[in-house]
């Protein structure tokens, strides 16, 4: 590019008179601009939708294959069981989807640190609570909308696969609508939990590792617990608590759907709360 050695004669601008003060509204618009102006947002959201729907569809296909192996005399009982579990079968991709949204949640805040943008952001909007709240609201809203779309799409694709052998449910079946909406809520809260961890750790790899540990590894490890421990601990594992809303968790050892989800929300609230306290207190 060509450079002009002498700057323009006047740099003075005619700005409208300032009224009030920079606040939440402007911060929201800014955060929306930020999140929609980088490619990683679109890639991760696309990955979320494709992976979650794809795994759900494959899992449904597995169910159908399995059903065709069942001897005719047992098919009625098998069909009843498959229909009861049809929602959770089609939503199975959420197990991986939660990790994708966790990556985006962490990146939303940690990319500000890895690029150094945080210093620029805070030097134009130094009211940190407002700044971080706006970021959390914008990310949370996007995660919720995309999460709901993903969950409903997974359900309908999965049912289409299951319907080839009449193993599908409809949204009118008991608990199905709750599970499908719950899938979207679950994704949004996973993202926010990871966002909170990102604000605490300020490091992309660290935050993603912590999220995956909390959401995924704890769940796997809980499988190794001795039975008499498991009945007390299992339901508190984040994935089990959060999954209660969309999974058909049999057994009295688990939380009911909404209680489990509330526990999961509480975990996210703790991470977000810690993130807010540290974000306001620490040097940027």
């Amino acid at each position: 590019m060509t450079t002009t050695a002498v700057p323009v004669s006047s740099t003075r601008a005619a700005l409208p008179a300032a009224r009030g003060r920079a606040g939440f509204g402007g911060a929201l618009r800014s955060e929306l601009t930020k999140i929609r102006s980088v490619r990683s947002t679109y890639w991760s959201l696309l990955a979320l939708v494709v992976i979650t729907i794809g795994i759900g569809a494959l899992f449904a296909l597995g169910r159908v294959q399995n059903f065709t192996q069942v001897p005719v005399g047992f098919q009625a009982a098998e069909r009843a069981r498959d229909i009861a579990q049809a929602a959770e079968t089609s939503l199975f991709g959420l197990i991986v989807g939660q990790l994708v949204i966790a990556v985006l949640g962490a990146l939303t805040i940690t990319s500000e640190y890895s690029t150094g943008m945080i210093r620029t952001s805070l030097s134009v909007m130094p009211r940190r609570g407002v700044s971080l709240a706006a970021k959390a609201v914008v990310f949370g809203a996007i995660a919720l909308v995309v999460g709901l779309v993903t969950s409903f799409a997974s359900y309908f694709v999965g049912q289409a696969v299951l319907s080839t052998h009449h193993l599908n449910s409809t949204l009118g079946h008991p608990g199905v609508l709750r599970a499908v909406i719950g899938g979207g809520l679950f994704l949004a809260v996973c993202g926010l939990l990871s966002f909170g961890l990102g604000a605490v750790l300020r490091h992309t790899a660290g935050a993603i590792t912590a999220s995956i540990g909390l959401l995924f590894v704890l769940f796997i490890l809980s499988g190794f617990l001795p039975e008499n421990w498991a009945v007390h601990i299992d339901k508190w594992v984040p994935f089990n608590a959060g999954g209660a809303i969309w999974e058909n968790q049999s057994g009295t050892a688990m939380f009911s759907p909404w209680v489990g989800f509330a526990v999961f929300c509480a975990y996210a609230a703790i991470a977000l709360g810690a993130g807010f306290v540290l974000f306001r207190k620490r040097d940027a």
Partner: protein, 316 residues
Amino acid sequence: MIEARGLTKRYGDTLAVDDLSFAVEPGKITGFLGPNGAGKTTTMRLILGLDHPTSGAVTVNGKAFAGLAYPMREVGALLDAKAVHGGRSAHNHLLCLAETNNLPRRRVDEVLALVGLTEVARKRSKGFSLGMGQRLGIAGALLGDPGILMFDEPVNGLDPEGILWIRNLMKALAAEGRTIFVSSHLMSEMENTADHLLVIGRGRLIADCTVPEFIAANSRQSVRVRTPQPAALSRVVAAAGGTVHEDGDGLMVVHGLGVSQVGDLAFDNSVRLHELAPAQASLEQAFMELTASSVQFHAGVPTERELQPANAGEVA
């Protein structure tokens, strides 16, 4: 107006900023000088509230920075031109900054034109050269048309054309009545642009004065003399209380006496002079003398930088 009172910042065992009190006066270019690691950037971070002071306080127009109604309308800062998300276009980067302070969207295009980045407005900033990145940072600082502008080492790493551009820009901004607070370790840069100087070393304020005052107060007066009778001149100068430094080839530098005193002494004592001139002390020399004791990272062997004027390799 930026005012610091007893500003102190400690990182662990390191005292980065040590009891700084100063005022950056409105409508002037104030140069903030110090060797690398002296605490210049930390002070600027404290002004912007990026770091919290260990003790003391700093205000901008009488308020803490975070308390300003529209921070961008009062202070525009460029601390680190690389502090942007490289995946975002120049236009979107500026837009997300402008939106926080409810600035009109058209302002983004205005500042892009002002710094000459209109053509690359839609390009992602990760492909920008150092100079273009610097312009983007300056565009961001100008968005709110602020009365105070703060630049941390703005010419670092720029080519001569870029340095000239920044220098002219700062002068133009100051001519419009804005307050400019600019840090540098390049003395010559300050000599060319600054009205007032704040000099720090190891986090402490060691001078707060105008450029001529700084040179006058911190460099020993010296006179350059060329004579075919060096021994005779040395004798009379020493007798009059001056000191002589022989540079060989008949050239001598006299400290402690003025030009007229040296001339009169030579005439009175019949010493022939071939040359008599005041030696100009530069800001560079004054600064080196003043901060010699406060350089934080002294090399065991003097580096080239210490032997030469600090910016020998730079184009001033």
